[in-house]
């Protein structure tokens, strides 16, 4: 319990620090915020703004106040009222926009994580059991090349193959399961390989342990040794890696969402950064970091479940 | 008995609310081997570490040549450090695995004496000879040496500093019987030649009885008795 409180406090601190970092980072970006807001909302990207318009925008969003004050207000509103601001560009509460976009990213990342876990773990176990046989080599070479290819390239190739040549799925779109398949597959590819490799190594390491030998000496059949003795122990590092993969998935989602026109937070964030939509950027960052921390929190709890040696307070 | 090299006075250690030990008092004379016997987890190692300054006790005094090392400044203490040395239980981690045995051996010399390379080499060889090491051992990395060989290098390395007092924390518990005898005999030989004092920490009473002048029994966090083994103190 004490551990949980500590952990929650730490998460809150991290979220706060990341927000602060983002806030000040966004504010050192060259170019006037007011100007960019104008360009993205009223006057169009390529036109120039008048002084009058600029000062109007500046006073409307308190852009002339010192940074620390602006940040203080943001934090105060966020903590006291749960209001994390209003998007400059979309002119709507950030929270509302996030609730629109979050499900898409959660679905994408969740599906990718499921694929990464299932495929990665089973391939890893298979590979470990086939150690140094042909199928193991092939699997490892394939995944090695898989991880070494730029994600967006893979995504484009997948689209060409599965959408255009085979006409199996739609190119873009959001809403049904069919639309989820390609983006999730493209996004999870790197993670599948990563999980697979860790599973393989960890499995091999576990199989060399004394208790596996003892289990053999007890006369247990191979499948029982693997499923009962090896798997759970081998899963320990895998679980941690899966948690970290969440970070990669969320980062990769930015690219995949762009390619597949997936209405998630990643693409929203990229657009908001270039539009200097500070509250929106803050919101996206907040959501992404929270998601990442939550997943790792879950992973931690899972870890304690798996490993009885670790018990937090 | 001459003026003690080391005196420990009412040493106490607490972790949070639990007391590891308290009221630890003993002194070791020059050329003497004091055995410290206790069960595992009784805090023997911690006492040893306190004496060489790797851990800070929560109470009491440690006097080296009559000076309290606990109240010393950092610099002052560093000067004194070579005089009190320690041998550790696990030979496999006692030497830097990335440095060859000889480099490990002469490291203290490099730190403390301004010796030139030639004289460093020479002194190193002397020390190796003193501890019965052969050149073939010295060019290897610690990973390729046996436990007994490593403890020899550790001893050579310590002798480089010509210490007055050595805390030996279970130096042979990880070694085979035949090697254990080698190392303990070597320690006795060094004591005869240099007059160094030992605090030998062990859970093996037979060993202690064989090599110590006196044995302190540690029980329930305090020293219950100090037994005189009838061997007399050689100087």
């Amino acid at each position: 319990m004490k551990y949980l409180i500590k952990r929650a406090g730490f998460m809150a601190f991290t979220v706060f620090a990341v927000c602060a970092l983002t806030f000040f980072l966004m504010n050192v970006i060259p170019g006037g915020t007011a100007e960019l807001i104008l360009k993205h909302t009223l006057i169009g990207l390529e036109e120039s703004a008048t002084e009058e318009q600029l000062s109007q925008i500046s006073s409307r969003y308190n852009l002339d106040d010192p940074l620390y004050l602006q940040f203080y207000w943001w934090v105060k509103e966020a903590v006291l009222r749960g209001d994390i601001g209003t998007s400059y560009i979309y002119n709507k509460p950030v929270l509302y926009l996030l609730t629109l976009r979050l499900p898409a990213t959660v679905q994408l990342a969740g599906a990718s994580m499921a694929i990464a876990t299932l495929a990665g773990v089973s391939l890893g176990i298979y590979s470990a059991l086939q150690e140094n046989r042909i199928s193991d080599h092939i699997l490892r070479i394939v995944t090695l090349f898989g991880v070494s290819m730029p994600g967006f390239w893979i995504a484009l190739i997948l689209i060409i193959i599965f959408s255009l040549k085979l006409k199996l799925v739609q190119v873009s779109g959001y809403g049904n399961l069919e639309n989820l398949i390609l983006p999730a597959a493209a996004l999870s590819l790197h993670s599948v390989a990563a999980v697979m490799r860790v599973t393989r190594t960890s499995m091999l390491e576990t199989l060399g342990q004394e208790y596996i030998r003892f289990a053999k000496a007890k006369g247990l059949p191979v499948w029982k040794i693997i499923s009962r003795h090896a798997l759970k122990n081998a899963m320990l590092p895998v679980v941690t890696v899966i948690g970290f993969q969440m970070g990669n998935l969320l980062g990769g989602a930015v690219v995949i969402e762009k390619i597949f026109a997936w209405p998630g937070i990643g693409s929203l964030l990229v657009d908001s950064i270039s539009a200097r939509d500070l509250p929106m950027v803050q919101g996206c960052v907040l959501a992404i970091v929270t998601m990442f921390l939550l997943v790792n929190f879950i992973v931690d709890i899972l870890y304690t479940h798996l490993d009885p040696r670790i018990r937090y307070g | 008995m001459s003026f003690p090299v080391l005196t420990v006075n009412e040493l106490a250690m607490k972790f949070g609310t639990s007391e590891v030990f308290k009221n630890i008092s003993f002194s070791v004379a020059r050329g003497e081997t004091l055995g410290l016997f206790g069960k595992s987890g009784s805090g023997k190692t911690t006492i040893g570490r306190c004496i060489v300054g790797l851990e800070k006790p929560t109470g009491g005094k440690i006097l080296v040549h009559g000076e309290d090392i606990l109240s010393m400044g950092k610099k002052e203490f560093r000067k004194l450090r070579p005089k009190i040395q320690m041998i550790f239980q696990h030979p496999e981690t006692s030497l830097d695995p990335r440095m060859k045995a000889f480099e490990n051996l002469i490291e203290p010399l490099k730190i403390h004496s301004g010796l030139k390379q030639d004289s460093l080499l020479k002194r190193g060889e002397e020390l190796a000879e003193l501890t019965g090491l052969r050149p073939e051992h010295l060019v290897r990395y610690p990973g390729h040496l046996s436990g007994g060989e490593i403890q020899r290098i550790v001893l050579a390395r310590i002798m480089a500093l010509s210490p007055d007092f050595i805390v030996a924390d279970e130096p042979t518990s990880m070694l085979d019987v035949s090697v254990q005898a080698q190392i303990l005999r070597l320690m006795q030989k060094l004591q005869r030649e240099t007059g160094v004092s030992y605090l030998l920490i062990s859970h093996n009473l037979e060993v202690l009885r064989k090599v110590c002048h006196r044995i302190a029994y540690l029980e329930n966090g305090t020293i219950t008795s100090i037994e005189n083994i009838n061997r007399g103190i050689k100087t």
């Binding site: 004394e210 006369g219 009885p308 | 060989e149 005898a181 080698q182 859970h203």
Partner: protein, 313 residues
């Protein structure tokens, strides 16, 4: 006929271009009902023999020779047949009780699984085990079963393992370094444990240890190993009280209570063994012959000794 007969067993581990000769040409017999001790310092190859018997060595090990158990050559058995022997007829008590228990499984399950493959009712089996545990100085065994291995002390773990190994009243119990890695108190307890096992069950036991006290206490006959081969084999009391081979002598006098007389030098490299007697360099009484010719093992005073000068002793 003896229960277990080992003929010319050699084990090599390839290391690059060379091979480490862990065991070379070892032969001995274990009679029904006797406790046979294999003693030697670390690296003498004694544990390798134990694992080789049950074919638990890694695949890379090159094994030659024969192991006849109840008339069957264990090395020519099919894996399924071997499984029937493992745990049931021959059970292994592995060294390092800490590593031999799976850290993430509860003790109860690990005991239970011994019965799983034997068509023994689990409840029935557990009852037997619980009884056994009580006999082996374990108090409150029911509670023990609900704990994880890391919650037990070293001595308890060892007893638990002993209990698992004995549940089936195997024909042969191989105890591999039962005192290694135990704290001194538990070591003392081990002597009691093994005396008890011997007394209560009277079954055949192969005890592999470097602890001379334990060997003297428990064993009927003892083989002393040096550099992968047996140098002396005789009744326990004879070997330990009136040793013949210079190595055995040295080993005994190096004991603190016997004067702490060190043996000089160290065991030879196992990659390039010396031409003559392996012990030649360290021997106090080596002759010219010793450096040239490797001594054969010969009968001597009711036992076996591998020394050119055994008749002089």
């Amino acid at each position: 006929m003896s229960l277990l007969e080992i003929r010319g067993l050699s084990v090599e581990f390839p290391a690059g271009e060379n091979a480490v000769k862990a065991v070379s040409n070892v032969s001995f017999e274990v009679e029904e009902g006797e406790t046979f001790g294999l003693i030697g310092e670390s690296g003498s190859g004694k544990s390798v023999i134990g694992l080789a018997l049950l074919r638990l060595l890694p695949e890379s090990a090159v094994i030659s020779g024969e192991v006849i158990f109840q008339g069957q050559n264990l090395f020519s058995l099919k894996p399924s047949e071997l499984r029937n022997i493992r745990g049931k007829k021959i059970s292994l008590m592995p060294q390092n009780p800490a590593g031999a228990l799976n850290p993430v499984l509860k003790n109860g399950l690990q005991i239970e699984e011994v019965f799983e493959e034997r068509r023994v009712d689990k409840k029935e089996g557990m009852k037997r085990s619980l009884k056994l545990m009580k006999k082996l100085f374990l108090t409150d065994p029911e509670k023990l079963c609900t704990l994880y291995p890391h919650q037990l002390s070293g001595g308890m773990r060892q007893r638990l393992i002993a209990c698992m190994s004995l549940s089936f009243e195997p024909e042969l119990l191989i105890a591999d370094e039962p005192t290694k890695g135990l704290d001194p108190e538990a070591k003392a307890g081990a002597v009691d444990l093994f005396t008890k096992i011997k007394k209560e069950y009277g079954k055949t036991m192969l005890l592999i240890t470097h602890d001379l006290d334990l060997a003297l206490e428990v064993c009927d006959r003892i083989a002393v190993m040096y550099a992968g081969e047996i140098v002396e084999l005789n009744e326990a009391s004879k070997v330990l009280n009136t040793p013949v081979h210079p190595y055995t002598k040295g080993l005994i006098s190096a004991q603190p209570r016997n004067g702490l007389v060190p043996l000089r030098g160290q065991s030879p490299s196992r990659i390039k063994l010396p031409e003559g007697c392996f012990f030649n360099e360290r021997c106090r009484c080596s002759g010219i012959e010793c450096s040239k010719k490797h001594p054969e093992i010969k009968k001597h005073k009711g036992g076996w000794v591998r020394c050119h000068f055994q008749s002089l002793q």
